[in-house]
């Protein structure tokens, strides 16, 4: 059984293994980055560090939410993600094999919570190499190894 952080974007339930989540935070003030792509939501400060913000809904081609929550990943510190509709942390199993049908690199499994399908995603596989390069250029930081 995995502990999964469940959130909702555009009525679709997504799940992230909490091992990949460093912390969640309220979105404070942000700074705009000029000439940045649409999926970058500006720069935000968190505990004396500033992070470029990735609009998860833009990466997944979904509708923008009203309330936004800042998610800091565990595995890398060159960016933070903006998610919404956090439901909570739940323990349930996900099926890796059935998720392979969709052939999405970031989709790691499919689970069911309260009769609803939860798509488990891998944060480190959400961004393409090109996107990562753009972010690295912006921050000058590299992926942790």
């Amino acid at each position: 059984m995995n502990k999964i952080l469940v959130f909702c974007l555009d009525k679709i339930f997504f799940g992230i293994n909490i091992n990949q989540v460093k912390s969640l935070s309220r979105l404070g003030k942000t700074k705009k980055i000029p000439e940045s792509p649409a999926w970058i939501g500006g720069l935000a400060k968190y505990r004396d560090n500033s992070f470029p913000l990735i609009k998860l809904w833009e990466l997944l081609n979904l509708e923008a939410p009203k309330k936004k929550v800042l998610l800091l990943p565990t595995d890398f510190d060159y960016c933070a993600f903006l998610i919404s509709g956090v439901k909570g942390i739940y323990e349930f199993d996900t099926d890796k094999e059935s998720s392979k049908i969709y052939r999405l690199p970031y989709l790691s499994g499919l689970g069911t919570l309260q009769n609803k399908t939860v798509l488990q995603i891998e944060l480190n596989k959400l961004l393409t190499e090109k996107q990562k390069r753009i972010l690295k250029k912006l921050t000058g930081k590299n992926e942790k190894k």
């Binding site: 952080l5 909490i18 989540v21 912390s23 309220r26 956090v86 909570g88 942390i89």
Partner: protein
């Protein structure tokens, strides 16, 4: 003695008187008798028989002609009489020759030839004599007849009829008397002289006849002088005709001048007639208008009379209604005055009420602003709740990372925080609902208050308007009361005027009738005048055309 008797007697006597000596000389030549007594006795008897026969025959014919029994024989009488005489004497010569022949023998062929030779001249002489005499005698009678037609012989035929027998007889008697052809000279000479004389008479007569004929055919072309060389009365007749023609020319020129004058007069008359005709038509139109107006005025008079009766019945009703109106008006004025006062009171009350409502409204507005503040506070609380939730989540995440007792501690904290967050969220939701409802209630109160204020304002204005209208009504009623009094007075005057109008209408009616009679008489006269004018116009036109013709003719021929 009747005309027929006279005519028959004259012809009989003349034929006997001329025929007998001729016959006697012829018979002597035929049979060469010396016994004059026997011959004269038998001649006298035969002559009497012949005269009687001629007389009765002619008398019968003439009587029938004069009485109109046989109109066809009127013009044949002279010729038939002549032929009768000729045939009688021809037959008589034959009989006489036989009577005086003692042996009653058939004479020789030579004698029969002689008898034949005698018969022709004697018959012709008798025919011409009796014909001329008969025509001369009957001419006065012929002139009295209508459609007189002289169907007798012309002058040449007459001359030949007289001349040829005379010539034959001259030749015959000259030869018989002298028994020599030399004797013919003494007989032919006078005959030639007679012929020349006849010719000198005939030519001027023919010329005059021709001239008169020309005048008759075309009177104006033959007015020039014609000279006839003759020393007798015929030349005098020609001169007289010339004088007559000269006078005729002068009369014609006078006629021409007069015709010009008459023409101008005729044209003037014509134009006058046309003007008169148009005036007459206008008069007729006017008469028609008068007649139409008469009908209209008659109907008006009738309507006036009818309206008069209706008006008299209406007048009493109007008077009673005016009285009622005055009484009602007074009551209405009183009511209007009291209404005005009450309206003022109502307005004052509304003003106080509105003032109070406005005060309440202000308090509500203050309450509404307090709610707004609470809403802001709520959003802050919501944020805190969210943060708390996030804190709980972070604690849970941290608990999974830690191990052992540390993990348990974090998870307890996380649970507590989550509970707190959930509770605060639920309380917040409830508070939000309550505030929302209260806010909506306050909003609706404020809206209804505003509506009430506007309604009160409307009511106030309506009451004020009503008060003003009541005032106006009161004034109007006052005015209408005075108007009613005035109307009453005017009605009385009106009725007096109507009675006068009625009288006037009667007068108008009688006047109209007189006018119509006069107009009709005028119309008739005008129509008659128009008819006579039309007749006169036609006559004037005819006169002008006649004058033009006369002028044309006179212009052509009088130079």
């Amino acid at each position: 003695m009747k005309l027929s008797n006279k005519f028959a007697l004259i012809i009989s006597l003349v034929s006997i008187a001329t025929g007998t000596p001729l016959m006697l000389s012829c018979v002597r030549w035929i049979i060469s008798l010396g016994d004059y007594t026997k011959m004269l006795t038998s001649l006298a008897v035969l002559s009497l028989i012949l005269t009687g026969f001629l007389y009765f025959y002619q008398e019968t014919r003439l009587r029938k002609a004069i009485s109109g029994e046989r109109k066809d024989i009127v013009y044949d009488i002279p010729l038939v009489s002549g032929l009768h005489a000729a045939i009688n004497f021809s037959v008589f010569i034959l009989l006489f020759s036989l009577i005086i022949n003692p042996l009653f023998e058939i004479t020789s062929i030579k004698n029969i030839f002689k008898i034949g030779v005698c018969l022709i001249p004697i018959g012709l002489i008798q025919l011409s004599l009796i014909y001329h005499l008969g025509f001369t005698l009957l001419s006065p009678y012929y002139r009295t007849l209508e459609d007189t037609q002289f169907t007798g012989l012309n002058i040449t035929q007459k001359v030949l009829l007289l001349g040829i027998p005379a010539l034959i007889f001259s030749v015959f008697t000259g030869y018989i008397s002298t028994k020599s052809w030399l004797g013919l000279f003494y007989l032919v000479f006078p005959s030639l002289i007679i012929l020349i004389l006849i010719k000198t008479i005939k030519e001027p007569i023919d010329a005059i006849q021709e001239r008169i004929q020309k005048i008759l055919n075309d009177p104006f072309s033959s007015l020039k002088k014609t000279i006839i060389v003759s020393g007798d009365e015929i030349a005098l007749i020609n001169d007289l005709i010339s004088i007559f023609l000269g006078k005729t020319i002068s009369i014609i020129s006078e006629i021409k001048e007069t015709a010009d004058k008459v023409r101008t007069q005729g044209e003037a008359i014509l134009s006058g007639i046309r003007r008169l005709s148009s005036s007459s038509k206008q008069i007729n139109n006017s008469v028609q208008e008068i007649l139409e107006n008469k009908a209209e005025s008659d109907s008006m008079v009738n309507s006036v009379q009818k309206n008069d009766e209706e008006l008299s019945s209406l007048s009493s009703e109007i008077e009673s209604q005016i009285k009622t109106l005055v009484a009602t008006s007074k009551k209405s004025i009183e009511l209007a005055n009291s209404g005005e006062e009450k309206s003022e009171e109502g307005v004052n009350k509304i003003n106080t009420f509105v003032q109070k409502i406005e005060e309440g409204s202000k308090s509500l507005e203050e309450l509404s602003s307090a709610f707004e503040e609470i809403k802001e506070f709520n959003s802050l609380m919501e944020q805190i709740s969210d943060d708390t939730n996030l804190l709980a989540l972070n604690a849970s995440i941290e608990a999974t990372r830690k191990e052992g007792e540390e993990s348990k501690g974090f998870s307890v904290i996380a649970d507590e925080i989550r509970k707190l967050s959930n509770d605060s969220a639920s309380y917040l939701e409830k508070t939000k609902d309550n505030i929302k409802r209260m806010s909506e209630a306050v909003k609706s109160i404020v809206e209804s208050t505003e509506k009430s204020i506007s309604i009160f304002e409307d009511s106030k204005s309506i009451i004020q308007k009503t008060a003003e209208e009541l005032k106006e009504i009161s004034e109007s009623i006052g005015l209408s009361t005075s108007m009613a009094d005035q109307i009453s007075g005017i009605l009385k005057e009106g009725f007096d005027s109507i009675s006068e109008i009625k009288k006037a209408a009667k007068k108008l009616s009688s006047l109209n009738e007189q006018q119509v009679e006069a107009a009709l008489a005028l119309s008739k006269e005008t129509e008659a005048q128009v008819a006579s004018m039309e007749d006169t116009e036609i006559r004037a036109q005819t006169l002008i055309s006649i004058i033009d013709k006369i002028k044309e003719n006179t212009n052509i021929h009088i130079e």
